[in-house]
């Protein structure tokens, strides 16, 4: 548990870090970035919270059970989207040309349009959720073990 100034500033900063990570995840098909990079950014924000508040106080409200549920649901959504276009092949992009996220951009350099990409933005969200939950769980469990107490149950 660090001093009062550090706790107040990290309370304000975690909001901006979360929005920045979500921006990198959502614009994965237009700018450099995507699911893995955005998930790593948000996990570093959780690391800031653990350092500023101490792992015991964070463990009172963020258990590993909830993070495990988040991670498994992200993996299941990813596999469900892969089975969506099973009529042609496995992993077929079945949303290009249809009405949801299905516009086709003009060939060559252009300012990006966010309603393009087919099934890629949904896959970015699923993988981003999974990487976020997985790296936060690893950080939380190791911080708890190093402060001379262990997880119960």
């Amino acid at each position: 548990m660090m001093s009062k100034i550090v706790r107040t500033i990290s309370n304000i900063l975690i909001l901006f870090i979360f929005i920045y990570g979500l921006y990198i995840i959502m614009h994965g098909h237009l700018t450099p970035g995507g699911g893995f990079q955005g998930g790593a950014v948000v996990a570093s924000g959780v690391a800031l919270l653990i350092v500023a508040f101490g792992s015991q106080s964070i463990h009172k409200s963020l258990r590993e059970h909830h993070l495990s549920i988040l991670e498994s649901s992200g993996a299941l959504v990813f596999i469900g989207l892969a089975f969506g276009g099973i009529a042609t092949v496995f992993f077929y992009n079945f949303l290009v040309g249809s009405s949801i996220f299905g516009r086709i951009p003009p060939t060559g350099p252009n300012p990006g349009d966010i309603w393009t990409g087919g099934v890629i933005p949904f896959m970015n969200l699923a993988v981003g959720l999974k990487v976020l939950a997985g790296l936060s769980a690893i950080l939380l469990v190791m911080a708890l073990a190093s402060s001379m107490t262990e997880m119960d149950e």
């Binding site: 086709i104 060939t107 190791m142």
Partner: protein
């Protein structure tokens, strides 16, 4: 005895590595047939502006599926190793 064997095997290995690094293609002119096709047809087939994301999630989606499985197994292993034994 052990140090002599280590030194001989390590020097042979590093000689192989340096010979392989000098005999590769000249740096800056890679052979590329598959990547020319991907750069030409990304915007019309997948509809994304980012060729790297299209390759990771559309042209090579199986590798991403394998990587998601490895991440899940590693996180499960770490959580399992730090459990407390119940004293009953």
């Amino acid at each position: 005895m052990r140090k002599i064997a280590l030194a001989i095997s390590l020097s042979v290995f590093i000689a192989f590595l340096i010979a392989a690094a000098l005999l590769l293609h000249p740096f800056g002119y890679p052979p590329s047939q598959m990547d020319d096709y991907i750069i030409e047809n990304t915007q019309s087939e997948t509809g994304a502006n980012n060729a790297v994301t299209a390759v990771v999630f559309d042209y090579r989606g199986f590798d991403t599926l394998g990587e998601v499985t490895i991440l899940f197994a590693a996180v499960t292993g770490v959580i399992m190793l730090f459990r407390k034994k119940k004293k009953e």
